[in-house]
Point group: C2
């Protein structure tokens, strides 16, 4: 593509409302333009990238045996009333009335529609399994759309829905989709992790999220570099320590710690590591207050705590007055010794001896405290967030922490929708059975933004080869002045084009600085600069986008060099 | 694709509500499924065809230099208010309120959005011309959606919008798009015509419609087989006769024609051809009644008549009482002789001598009537529909009549939207100018239905090669019983697949009759039947879809034969 025949519209500044790097860079590179709140047009440059993602998703879905179809965006209310979601989906669903005042919505997802298709088309176990997918525009009326296409209202999604005659077969396809997603994100050239996830509002049981790793990600993840274990930090299990508890070595002492309330303050004051201290949190239990104990350097995980049978579904901290009633001390001096309520201790405390904790006497702490000697053995439970270095729950190494952007999700829906909509089939014995269902989504437009969050520098985007709008950009110096530069650039452009390379020739009458800045901003992986000066010595400049200095390559070799590099990529 | 891994769902009967052949066949073939009124899911088989159309449209648009982008379906009301169309578009526009009660619509078209993009992105004549296009889902809330995807509410459209610094450049691109559309429909393998069209509600001036020719088409067209002239019958000019009028040869006679009112009745009664008779229609003129004269075998074209300065914008026939007052006779006996109102005669009457007409005396006609002798020369005008055999207005042959389905439309919008939305640019002299605009649409999903209307027989669809969901279908007899048939079928399947042919292997455990009926219903262009009996003699059966009897081909040659045929197609 000659740039003069393309439509590139770059800018040095991004609008003030763009907070996220990907949002800024997509606007600056002219990939997208805002039409309204959460509504974006994909400009020619952006659309090329979107289509790359779409193509890879489609190819891998087809390879997995899934079959593509295409369902309407506008859906009748009746199906949603049948599934019970018309009333409960909430204001994210864009409801519509047609000219006859009949109710519809702009589909936020397609479980109802595909289940309606399945119940009408599938009669026998011989037609199962089947996995239908589409790549289609969805609408979710976010209350505060932001971050550009990362959280737009109208977005492009690949959604797949599989139907099975047994749970075992659903599990087989679920694994197949898990592997397909792994292939998709690997081909896209992204660093990613599949994490075990709570199932959330979409319903069903058994699910994994696929996250692109990026510092700006909304989700905190724990993963094991030595295995494929990964989980939301909120869900990652903290294993009990393997070492056994040392015998008590110190005597119990009450020390005066005036004005020292927080773990940090007491740690500095007593010159004791937070990891040798115990913090005591008083929360409301199902039968009165409960004390939760955590190591000083650990954080309470409220999701885990809320799952304990002793606690309600949502963790609520006890009021200060309750804490004072129970302990006789101000909150910063509370500890488990002599406390007359149930005590639940995090498992990290199992092998802690001679620790420090509050003395239930305002302005005082105990040192040299030991379970079994100074207070009863507590009940040990997993109630903390994992930290970097914790052993991986799969026993294969240590956990690392990172942040991720959710771009994919696989679910075992089971019979939630097939039961509600009576999607049944006749089994081998002629008996009517409800179909098992799975669903599998990828936020196609979101993948583009996530890729930029992961791959950029201060000059712009750094596309992975498989997502780049063009593989090569040729930047001739003085294309409109130097016959030699023009001829060499045109010849390379034609050669690469003939070899099937997507190449952009910057044939504008612009200064080199402008051409280079644009090439870097829009993130083309390989740049070749052709100028009269270099040509006199038969040389051109080659600069990969992820490097900072160019190297001279003989003009006669540049074409082959690029083809070799692209073939290897 | 193995049929067992595809999802085919055919049926022998179509639902009663399907009136049109394409609608019936698309439902029977399992190409589409109805979700609601005017809402259709494209099933895997249908989607393959839709994508073929999409791909050819995209390739040819790209070749023309147009640049693809992708705009949102949901559009803010503000832009439509700015263009003035929010109020006037009518109930076809699906209006939406979001959670904040702000007004939007599901875009029925994208002139406003693209003009908004152009006014923000284009500042200089150096950025012009540009032609943006997209392939995107539209919604038009038809009051009575029918005919399946032919007139659906949600449909897939290619819409392009070009921007220019001058009218001349718009005309150049308009011609380029005209040629591009011609290439597209030619590649699709369809018989079609581009016809000059009225501009309709979308606004602007200068437009052509592209029609796929089919007996079931909604529009009557006139075209010249010897040139590219084509027009809606309503708009096609009827040229004046070239032969001059013979001298009167008969005397005026009043004959008794009791009970004979219509042209046909009088023609039979008097044994005179309708083409030698004149019918007289009394209509309301701007200044009292006017008589319109037509040859007995011609039909009034009300659109042409309404354009006459003597008549109002809509033709209204005079009441019977008025006719009696003017002529003194009942309507079936009215004629122009002695009539005291303005007379406008169709140009076909210019060279008619010795004709028959009503005598203004109930139950009587004149014979041997001549203009200039028996009544004054009338004003001659073009007020009739052309008929087959009329000379083509471009002087290159004779007209034929046919029916067409509109699948494409090219418009010169001029400055309708660019003025309303202030889409301006700075010209070579730094002066602000309003952009000239063109727009160019193709009903991508409608093309699929139109192709079926044109190409089918009583057994099913007959796809043109370029639109076929699969090029070849292999129907092995006893695939699950005969090792020889299975091996030969698998081998051919693999060979063709390796050569890049889209081949469907019917590996179901079905009777031959079922396989053949399905293959014919879904319209695969080439069928190869492999059975043990033929294999014993080294033969297989080859049947092109458009032929009725198969021929035997040596198994060793079938692969090469198919590849040769497909290459030539």
């Amino acid at each position: 593509m000659r740039l003069s025949q393309f439509f590139l519209s770059t800018s040095k500044e991004a609008p003030a409302e763009a907070e996220l790097v990907s949002h800024k860079l997509m606007l600056r590179a002219g990939m997208i333009r805002r039409l309204g709140s959460g509504l974006y047009s994909w400009m020619p440059l952006g659309l090329r990238v979107l289509r790359k993602v779409e193509t890879i998703v489609r190819e891998e879905m087809n390879k997995s045996g899934a079959v593509e179809l295409f369902m309407p965006a506008v859906q009748p209310a009746e199906l949603w009333q049948e599934s019970g979601r018309w009333a409960v989906f909430g204001p994210q669903m864009l409801k519509i009335k047609d000219r006859h005042e009949r109710d519809f919505c702009f589909g936020p997802t397609h479980e109802e529609v595909i289940t309606d298709i399945a119940r009408k088309e599938i009669r026998s176990y011989r037609q199962l399994p089947v996995n239908f997918y589409q790549i289609q525009t969805k609408f979710r009326d976010e209350i505060r759309p932001r971050f550009g296409v990362m959280r737009a209202r109208e977005f492009l999604m690949k959604d797949a829905y599989s139907f099975h005659s047994s749970f075992e077969d659903l599990q087989r396809e679920y694994r197949e989709m898990y592997d397909t997603y792994t292939r998709i994100f690997t081909r896209l050239g992204l660093k990613f992790r599949a994490v075990a996830a709570d199932t959330g509002a979409i319903g069903g049981s058994g699910s994994h999220e696929f996250h692109v790793l990026a510092d700006s990600g909304e989700d905190a993840l724990a993963y094991c570099p030595d295995s494929d274990y990964a989980a939301n930090v909120e869900l990652a299990e903290a294993l009990p320590p393997t070492a056994s508890r040392p015998a008590p070595g110190a005597t119990l002492e009450k020390v005066y710690t005036p004005g020292q309330h927080s773990i940090e303050e007491v740690s500095v004051f007593l010159k004791i590591e937070p990891s040798r201290m115990v913090k005591t949190l008083i929360v409301e239990g199902n039968d009165g207050p409960v004390a939760l104990l955590l190591r000083g350097d650990h954080q309470l995980n409220e999701i885990k705590a809320a799952k304990l049978e002793q606690l309600p579904d949502e963790v609520r901290f006890a009021a200060d007055t309750v804490v004072r009633d129970i302990s006789g001390a101000a909150p910063g001096s509370v500890g488990p010794v002599g406390l007359n309520i149930p005590v639940l201790a995090d498992r990290a405390l199992m092998n802690l001896a001679d620790f420090v904790c509050g003395a239930n006497d305002t302005g005082h702490h105990y040192t040299g405290v030991n379970f079994g000697r100074d207070l009863p053995e507590p009940v040990f439970v997993d109630i903390r967030n994992v930290v970097a270095g914790d052993p991986s729950p799969d026993g294969k190494g240590s956990l690392e922490l990172c942040r991720g952007i959710e771009v994919g999700h696989v679910f075992q829906l089971r019979t939630k929708y097939s039961e509600a909509l009576s999607a049944t089939f006749l089994d081998e014995n002629g008996k009517s059975q409800v179909m098992e269902m799975g669903c599998y989504g990828i936020g196609v437009s979101r993948v583009v933004a996530a890729a930029i969050e992961q791959n950029h520098d201060d000059r712009g985007i750094i596309w992975p080869e498989s997502m780049a709008p063009f593989a090569v950009v040729i930047t001739p110096i003085g294309y409109h002045k130097s016959e030699a530069a023009r001829q060499a650039a045109d010849k390379l452009y034609q050669e690469l084009g003939a070899a099937g390379v997507e190449v952009l020739l910057d044939d504008r009458d612009e200064r080199p600085g402008v051409m280079f800045a644009d090439a870097e901003l829009i993130g083309i992986p390989h740049r070749v600069t052709i100028g009269e000066r270099g040509l006199k010595e038969g040389m051109v400049e080659y600069l990969p986008r992820h490097e900072s200095s160019a190297r001279n390559v003989p003009l006669s070799e540049i074409s082959k060099l690029l083809l070799d590099i692209l073939k290897a990529a």
